[in-house]
Amino acid sequence: MKELKILLVIVVLVLIGYWGIEPLAHSIMHKEIEEAIEKYKLPDFEFSDLPEPAVRTGDPAKGKEATKMFCTSCHGIKVEGIKPPMDPKTAAASFGVVPPDLSNIAAVIDEKFMINFLKDPQKATENPKFAMPPLGLNDQQAADITAYLKGIAKKDMSPKEKTVEACVRCHSIKYQKIYAETPEENLKKYLGKVPPDLSIIYKAKGEEYLHAFINRPSKILHGTSMPRLGIDEKSQHDIVKYLDEISDPHKEQRKKVGLIVLAYMLVMVGLTYAWKRKIWKNIH
């Protein structure tokens, strides 16, 4: 009985300490982030700060013409046989970042965001240094181009493909042998630093932060050079899930082995207790 009381005191003190250094400390240290998440209701997949486009439904055929006119002087579209006008190195040197191939870009980007983005990239991305200039498109053209790009984009992209499509212009995922399309020295000039590698970013940042940050970078990390990319809800979930899986590839194994070890220790508790009882039977 007395020993159980001592154990209880220890358990209570340890739990109070644990509560203090983990949940309490983290909630206080992450207060600003929590507040931003609360204030902007992140992740906001409606992109409610952007205006509803005047024209939402575009004509893909017209969009194709508009795309050729406005986009292909910088971007390639592989599936349509349109090569980029510059090799990646030259492009990165001239623009700061390699302009993405447009074949599948619409597969990961929200429609509303994309129309807004085409009209005013800096405003939509909330990044004044964003490399693509405003092109002076009207509402109809922006909707047409969006409809066209949505039409040609692959429909069933895997989480990994989506991650590469959305992130690998700037980020590497080196544990997966995936390297950023834009060379590091250009990124440093364009963004001020080499963006973090994504191999185990999930462990460093956690699910909630990643969802909020990808959705609206500048509201979570002031002055960040990461632009808002307007990833749609399904794609963002796929991407974060993929980042989770690659950061912790042994999750299943850990659970399985953990249960076996705990079961073994439980048996040991029983056996050692029995032996202790036997030895102590005659001692008083």
């Binding site: 240290m29 508790v269 202790k276 030895i279 001692i283």
Partner: protein, 400 residues
């Protein structure tokens, strides 16, 4: 060891192993009035063995080079080596839990007055083991070369700058560079895997030897001669150890639960970002077991020098317990005044630990200051309590 076969007899004639077994185990007697807190000494040894075994496995894959260290830990060990993650988790959680076990072991020693005559050497060697363990933990924490590794090492080594005259040079000498860099990593690695564990081993032997000479204390702090213990006590083997194995099993159940299902407290998220000397993380804090001492340092927020002195004092004051507390009454069980101060001290320690991780601003700064003062009040109350108790004993009051 009752039977003596051929080999046993042969060894016994040359090494006197049955005599050794008798002295160390089967005829080493402990008092009966002890509780399971007396099992924590052997638990520290168990955790130490776990750390050494997992450490050796990690050593086979770890690369002590600032360009390779982070990936060798987070990729090679955590992803590629089969079951490498088990060893890393066990090592990280083991280091953390070592301090929990040590703190309980030390608190038991303080409560029951186990540092008093004739056990001063036991206490002092134990304290040295605590310092060595802290140094091992601190050097080891740099090795994964993550952001928190780096900035914790950077912050703590900067503290040495304040030492008069030699400070700035000393910092460079410790780091091997003007900032924490590759040279720091390799020297911390060398100390972590060779000198420090070797010293821990040496002092463990002395610590145990000293305990074998003076014997364990007991709940009531009653001194017992060897004969009394033989008559009324229990032998270390098999009686004490049969209980110890049970305590160990319960402990390991808890330990492996942490290793597999709740390891976050021992592996800070920020440390999964590689060290970057150009980017300071918004919050820098040491591992939880240094937080109380760290908070004493920050508690004197108005004076860096004072904070530093307090920090050093907070770590080394426990060493002087046998001389601060000269009361003839040994165990806290029979010392009401001491008991009040003890529990204030324990609560204050938990309080400081919690505060140590919070940002030191506004109210938290002042709470830290109060916590730091209370920490010292415990130590300085001891001579006063001793004085009062000495008088009581002299006048026939108080029990022994």
């Amino acid at each position: 060891m009752a039977k003596k076969g051929g080999l046993m007899k042969w060894l016994d004639e040359r090494l006197a192993i049955s005599e050794l077994w008798r002295v160390m185990m089967s005829e080493y007697y402990l008092p009966k009035n002890i509780n399971f807190l007396w099992s924590f000494g052997v638990l520290t040894m168990l955790v130490f063995v776990i750390l050494v075994v997992t450490g050796i496995i990690l050593l086979m894959y770890y690369k002590p080079d600032s360009k390779l260290a982070f990936d060798s830990v987070n990729k090679t060990i955590m992803m590629d080596v089969s079951y490498g993650w088990v060893f890393r988790h066990t090592h990280a959680v083991g280091a953390s839990i070592m301090f929990l076990v040590l703190f309980i072991h030390m608190a038991r020693g303080i409560y029951y007055g186990s540092y008093k005559a004739p056990r001063e050497v036991v206490w002092v060697t134990g304290f040295i083991l605590f310092v060595l363990m802290s140094a091992t933990a601190f050097t080891g924490y740099l090795l994964p070369w993550g952001q928190m590794s780096y900035w914790a090492a950077q912050t703590i080594t900067t503290l040495f700058e304040k030492i008069p005259f030699i400070g700035p040079d000393l910092v460079i000498w410790i780091r091997g560079n003007y900032i924490v860099e590759d040279a720091t990593l390799t020297r911390f690695f060398a100390l972590h895997v060779t000198l420090l564990p070797a010293l821990i081993l040496v002092f463990t032997v002395i610590h145990m030897y000293a305990v074998r000479i003076v014997g364990s204390n007991n709940e009531d702090g009653i001194p017992m001669t060897k004969e009394e213990k033989k008559k009324n006590g229990i032998p270390f083997w098999p009686v004490f150890m049969s209980k110890e194995f049970f305590v160990m099993s319960v402990f390991l159940l808890f330990f492996f639960y942490l290793v597999f299902f709740n390891y976050g407290f021992a592996m800070d998220p920020i440390n999964f970002q590689p060290a970057n000397y150009l980017q300071t993380p918004p919050h820098i804090y040491p591992e939880w077991y240094f937080l109380a001492f760290y908070e004493v340092l920050r508690g004197f927020f108005f004076s860096e020098t004072l904070g530093l002195i307090a920090f050093v004092a907070s770590m080394f004051l426990p060493l002087f317990l046998p001389w601060l507390d000269r009361s003839p009454i040994v165990s806290g069980k029979h010392r009401p005044l001491f008991r009040i101060m003890f529990w204030i001290f324990i609560i204050d320690f938990v309080f400081l630990t919690i505060l140590g991780k919070l940002p030191p601003t506004g109210l938290f700064a002042w709470l830290g200051f109060i916590g730091a003062i209370v920490y010292f009040i415990f130590f300085f109350s001891l001579p006063i309590i001793s004085f009062i108790e000495k008088k009581q004993v002299a006048s026939g009051g108080g029990q022994q």
